[in-house]
Structures are given as structure tokens and as C-alpha cells.
Subunit: 80 residues, 2 copies
């Protein structure tokens, strides 16, 4: 099965990459776009194991996310 971990910068944190995209969109004439935020999405494919949800949450907090500036959510796809 799969876990989809979506990682975003917290809304209070400045996002220079998003601002760069916003600036480029503006120059290209897409000025109806008011804000851009760029995040990550990490797809983990794994064998179903006991308490996989606890483990996935643990590895996410240990390796994939910086909890000081980022927030995340986890969705599961496939046979539970």
C-alpha cells in the first residue's frame, strides 16, 4: 500500500520559492494569481505491517519534516 505525505511550510513562514514562482507568473501575465506556496509530496510504497500508521508518522517526523517550520498530512491509498 501507499502513504502520501504532503509537507507544507507553515503559513507564518516565508516561502521564497513560492514568491519566485509568483513573480514569474506575474511577468507572464497571470496576475490573477495572488499567492503561491510550494511544498513537497512524498509517496511511500510499503508492505503492510503491524501498526504501520504509527511507524509512518514516526519516520515522517524523524526524516521528512522539519516540525519547526513545516506541517504535514498523511493519506493512505490501497488495501488497508
Amino acid at each position: 500500500m501507499k502513504a502520501i505525505v504532503t509537507v507544507k511550510l507553515k503559513s507564518v513562514v516565508l516561502d521564497p520559492q513560492g514568491q519566485a514562482v509568483l513573480g514569474s507568473l506575474d511577468k507572464l501575465g497571470y496576475d490573477f494569481v495572488k499567492d503561491v506556496r510550494v511544498g513537497k509530496v512524498i509517496e511511500l510504497e510499503f508492505d503492510k505491517v503491524r501498526k504501520y500508521d504509527e511507524k509512518v508518522r514516526e519516520l515522517t517526523e524523524k526524516l521528512l519534516v522539519n516540525p519547526i517550520i513545516e506541517e504535514y498530512e498523511i493519506k493512505y491509498i490501497g488495501d488497508k
Copy 2:
């Protein structure tokens, strides 16, 4: 309203960043994870305009995605 653009490498394309995460997970003992793919998620906040969905698709293909190696999907959130 918001458009959420999720960009992934096509499955035939090697993902070195995902492989690096997979290697680290393995070292940390999370060996039940069999594969990792890392993508981007871009949140666009915009004023509703005429044919916004066409425009969002257009700017995505022009600026956010490399169609040779990446694929994407767009979801809309908020008042349509």
C-alpha cells in the same frame, strides 16, 4: 479560491531524491518501505476569473511542469 497542483516524476523516470530517502529510511530501520518518490505540490491562491481552469492549466504547463519527465494533476478548493 485555490488550485493545488501536484507534480510527480513519471514512473519511468529515476528519482534520486526518493532513492536517497529510501536509503536513509532503510538505515533507520524502516525497511518495510519498499519505494519512495518525491514530488512537488504548488498551491496557487487566486481571484476567480473567467476560464480560470484553462489559465491554470496553461501556466502549469508553461512554468511549473517539465512535461518530458513530469506529470501533474490539478485540484480546486474553495468557492467555484
